[in-house]
Symmetry: C2
Subunit: 198 residues, 2 copies
């Protein structure tokens, strides 16, 4: 089972290299999340490991994410929110080895759909359902790529804390399976709708 370390690291290259060693080599994790604020050279130690995945924070699921991520950035004759500039960097500059994805909050389905339009081929990691209140149906509909896939919905607290009693393991399993079934149901519906549109 592939493990994604949602560690959101971001540091200068020498420190990033040490983080990459720790998570990829020592802990043998498959993917990790990174914070783009420090730019390309801070991401390079992760990006250059072509057999490992890197999910770049783009539009995070928390309300305060907009404080920076929604600031209007101008350049190249365009004006757009910062998170779209990050999505473009991820698509055009950081994905040389085809191992880059984006973290986009399921809590903002409109932004999610817009980022999917910009980046039809990048995998998305979608936090924000469950405890954070994101709508699974809207997330699935907006995150689906052309192949009817292309995203991972993660849920932490809803599953981890499904029960604080001795049945916690069974309760966590039930919560995970219920979410899986919900995702698949909405995916089938979205694909059927897409097929009907022709």
């Amino acid at each position: 089972m592939p493990v994604i370390a949602d560690a959101k690291r971001g540091d200068i290259a020498s420190t990033a290299e040490a983080y990459a060693q720790a998570l990829f080599r020592r802990l043998r994790l498959r993917c990790r999340t990174v914070n783009p604020y420090l730019g390309t050279d801070s991401l390079a130690p992760f990006l250059e490991r072509a057999d490992k995945g890197v999910f770049v924070l783009c539009r995070t699921s928390n309300a305060g994410g907009a404080d920076l991520q929604a600031l209007a950035v101008t350049g190249d004759g365009q004006r757009r929110p910062l998170y779209e500039a990050v999505a473009e960097l991820a698509r055009d500059r950081w994905n040389e080895h085809g191992n880059v994805g984006l973290v986009v909050g399921a809590t903002f389905p409109g932004e999610l759909g817009r980022i999917r339009q910009m980046c039809p081929r990048l995998p998305f990691l979608l936090p924000g359902v469950g405890a954070q209140g994101g709508d699974v149906a809207a997330a699935v509909r907006n995150a689906l790529d052309e192949d009817g896939a292309g995203f991972i919905i993660n849920s932490s607290r809803q599953i981890l804390y499904a029960s604080s009693d001795r049945d916690y393991a069974q309760a966590a399993r039930r919560a995970a399976e219920a979410l899986r079934d919900e995702i698949n149901r909405h995916r089938e519906a979205a694909l059927a709708e897409r097929a009907a549109r022709g």
Copy 2:
């Protein structure tokens, strides 16, 4: 001796609260660095501990920092780099308890001087001298506040790796003392110049 954890954390509020507990309560550290990309609610668990310091990443010392931090942000009739928008948020919104400072790379003395003009009272943490090549004289001159203080220059590799031999402890001490003396010499010169200007 106050200890600053340069951990550059940034996560949603529930996780940020756990990081705050770990670093402030369990490890009893005095200050930490945080990444602003996730916005106000991700910083709140640190900011609200009025007896602890929080240095917000603003203009980092690495070359790639410009990829995001120098993007032109427009709003309120202004156009300025993202790092200035972060400096303003730190000054006007995040510093309610007077415990906020900024991380500004000593490698970019021009930007440093501009941020000091914008934020005359915030303490600065200045990485980038030593292994990263920042000029101590230019950093000191541009970071000094009205009281002739207001900044901490940190140096890691230059001191940690002053020697890889058995004299490493003495070599580290000598490197630290040499940097301290250099900072103080440039500070005296800058203050003398300021006094001469009247």
